[in-house]
């Protein structure tokens, strides 16, 4: 395996609200290799976006990384000051958001906003910067870039705006691109265009991509490796094929059973019982245990640790520990 580009180690992020501390991320660890597409999947409130924002340190004012390290090429980002982080953002790591309308400034032209990114992070100025903006817009497949540069965001469709966001994110050819639900606000045919674009740019530029989404279809299509999150913790991680064909966490299993797929069209869906987790009131043990059909006594009181299933697959579920224990006692 190649050298790790980004290492997140035991990350804890909390928001300090009037109702108390909300532990949005509770001990998330993962490694990102150069050129890899990593998918983070989970429901709303699972902490997937907060994990991404913690890497970039763009949390809301009430949010803070309380524990853990974010290592970029071996250096701990949590120790960096604002100025260093500003250099990191854009140059080494860029992010695109779900809603391309609210992430662009409505009162400036596209060209103006993109020029800002180029001038801030490179030494190109004036006509040279404009040339770079034009080049970037062409890269993401926008026709007539010169005309588009003079237009405002409202004159572009959702898909176009997301292309502009991607162009802006790529201004300095970052090592990492974080895509936070990049296609959730878009239609299916436009989603296909944007996913294709991200894939082809990733191949062309060799950057690593972290794709945050709730859509298992998008994950199945795009990602080499997948992290499944629930209640601010990682329940399962592995290659795409391991996660989809050999799920080992009760939550992943339930999730895959509950979505319509080509194979279960005539069958009844099997939903996950209960309601999504309330992050203000996390269970003491496994976060998923109040909704889990197979919950045991130990699930209520102890947080499960990750167990290695095979070299490409890890899961944090007591069921696997039980299965391993039974297996061992049978062999004795």
């Amino acid at each position: 395996m190649s050298e790790t580009l980004l290492g997140v180690q035991n990350l804890h992020t909390s928001f300090f609200t009037d109702n108390g501390e909300v532990q949005a991320v509770n001990g998330v660890s993962f490694d990102l290799n150069p050129g890899e597409i990593l998918g983070i999947v989970g429901e709303s409130g699972s902490g997937k976006s907060v994990t991404a924002y913690s890497i970039m340190q763009i949390l809301a004012d009430t949010g803070r990384i309380t524990e853990g390290k974010v290592l970029f090429k071996g250096e701990d980002l949590t120790k960096w000051n604002d100025k260093q982080m500003q250099g990191f953002r854009g140059k080494n790591c860029s992010i695109i958001f779900q809603d391309p309308m609210t992430s662009l400034n409505p009162v400036f032209t596209i060209g103006n906003q993109m020029r800002e990114a180029v001038i801030l992070h490179t030494d190109r100025r004036g006509a040279d910067a404009d040339a770079r903006v034009k080049e970037l817009l062409e890269l993401v497949g926008i026709n007539e870039p010169e005309k588009r540069m003079k237009q405002y965001p409202f004159e572009h469709s959702g898909g176009m705006r997301q292309r502009v966001m991607i162009a802006m994110a790529l201004a300095c050819e970052p090592d990492i691109l974080i895509a936070d639900e990049p296609t959730t606000a878009l239609d299916v045919t436009i989603q296909a265009q944007i996913l294709e674009l991200i894939q082809s740019l990733q191949r062309k530029m060799g950057m690593a991509v972290i794709l945050v989404t709730h859509d298992l279809g998008v994950i199945a299509d795009m990602c080499d490796n997948i992290i499944v999150m629930y209640g601010g913790r990682v329940c399962e991680r592995g290659t795409a094929r391991e996660i989809f064909y050999n799920p080992k966490h009760e939550y992943t299993k339930g999730l895959l059973r509950s979505i319509p797929n080509v194979n279960n069209m005539k069958k009844k869906l099997i939903p996950i019982a209960g309601t999504p987790i309330n992050m203000l009131n996390l269970p003491k043990g496994c976060a998923f245990c109040p909704r889990c059909d197979s919950a045991m006594k130990i699930c209520l009181s102890e947080i499960p640790q990750e167990l290695t299933i095979n070299e490409n697959h890890k899961a944090a579920c007591w069921m696997n520990v039980k299965a391993a224990y039974e297996e061992a006692s049978r062999n004795e």
């Binding site: 429901e43 709303s44 469709s157 898909g159 176009m160 239609d187 299916v188 045919t189 436009i190 989603q191 296909a192 265009q193 996913l195 294709e196 709730h214 859509d215 298992l216 279809g217 998008v218 994950i219 199945a220 299509d221 795409a240 094929r241 989809f244 064909y245 339930g254 999730l255 895959l256 059973r257 509950s258 979505i259 319509p260 797929n261 080509v262 194979n263 279960n264 069209m265 009844k268 869906l269 099997i270 939903p271 996950i272 309601t275 999504p276 909704r291």
Partner: protein, 319 residues
């Protein structure tokens, strides 16, 4: 097909849009669509945002006054005069469970309102019993009756909306993206409930959604809309396995399937560009600007739906 319950004939819904100071032009949100829904059947209606699927659903229930065409319910024409009476038979479940429930009303009052409007309960006791019965059908506890909408999660709110629609014992419900705003793990609960209610009560649905996998799962037949027109209607499995219209073909190929081997082995047909503005609709076939098969004929004349065998209707000159 079973007995026809709802028949939509040449329904048109235009909205006036101001251009300049004194000029208005019509925005053709729904342009001449026709279809039927049988008793206890589910017709799925899919399309991208702005294609007019929601407007179609609303026009059928006369939440807008249609510009042209007619809707027949059980053979009876739905008109301005009998709509109040008709809404006892036809109801709607809305997309956003946050804005479609009055925040100042308790669950009991929300579900009870249609009962009051149509004077279906003789006294308070009867009303109370009916409300509790409805709450049980959709899986809410009796203790929830006195609570307000904001105290519930998205999935539970959608259940309240469904109970409200069921209150008058309708035969037909327009479901406008009822699961789009819900979390993945909750969607299955609500989809299952729609299917169970249909088996138990025999209601027919017009199920409007943009998620093709969800629509395919719940529907018997599916209609595909593009820029205010229906381009293809067929049996759900037939449409999925043998799409004929180029738009349906690319739409199906663009849906990411949650199965890595299947989805990566597929050939994705990527459509160029965006959906044109409904104000600047192309001449002839509305899809021709993005269609890889488009010919001269497509620009001149708009194709109409024609039967390609087995109730598979397609509006295309080429295919």
């Amino acid at each position: 097909m079973s007995e026809t319950l709802v028949e939509v004939r040449n329904l048109k819904q235009y909205f006036p849009v101001k251009v300049g100071i004194a000029k208005t032009i019509p925005l053709k949100a729904v342009d001449d669509i026709s279809f039927t829904i049988g008793k206890g059947e589910t017709l799925g209606l899919v399309g991208e945002s702005g294609c007019g699927k929601t407007t179609a659903g609303r026009s059928i229930l006369r939440l807008y006054k249609p510009t042209g065409g007619e809707v027949l319910f059980n053979g009876e024409l739905v008109t301005e005069k009998n709509i109040t009476h008709m809404r006892k038979k036809m109801q709607m479940v809305f997309q956003d469970p946050y804005s479609s429930l009055d925040p100042r009303m308790t669950v009991e009052d929300i579900i009870g309102e249609p009962l009051d409007v149509h004077k279906l309960c003789a006294n308070r006791k009867e009303r109370r019993e009916r409300i509790l019965e409805l709450m049980e059908i959709v899986g809410l506890n009796a203790e929830h009756a006195t609570r307000y909408a904001h105290e519930f999660s998205g999935g539970q709110r959608q259940r309240i909306g469904i109970a409200r629609a069921l209150a008058v014992n309708p035969e037909f419900i327009v479901c406008d993206e009822p699961v789009s705003a819900l979390d993945v793990s909750i969607q299955a609960q609500v989809i299952n409930m729609f299917e169970e209610l249909q088996q138990k009560l025999g209601v027919a649905y017009l199920f409007i959604a943009h998620d093709l996998l969800v629509v395919h799962h719940i529907s018997k037949r599916i209609a595909v809309m593009y820029l205010g027109k229906i381009v293809e209607i067929a049996d759900a499995d037939e449409l999925n396995d043998y799409p004929i219209h180029p738009y349906t073909e690319s739409l199906l190929s663009a849906v990411p399937i949650p199965d890595p081997d299947v989805t990566r082995a597929r050939h994705r047909i990527i459509l160029e560009g965006d959906v044109p503005s409904p104000l600047k609709r192309p001449s002839g076939c509305p899809f021709r600007t993005r269609c890889r098969y488009a010919t001269e004929q497509c620009a001149e004349e708009c194709p109409t739906l024609s039967d390609r065998g087995g109730d598979h209707l397609v509006a295309c000159w080429v295919k």
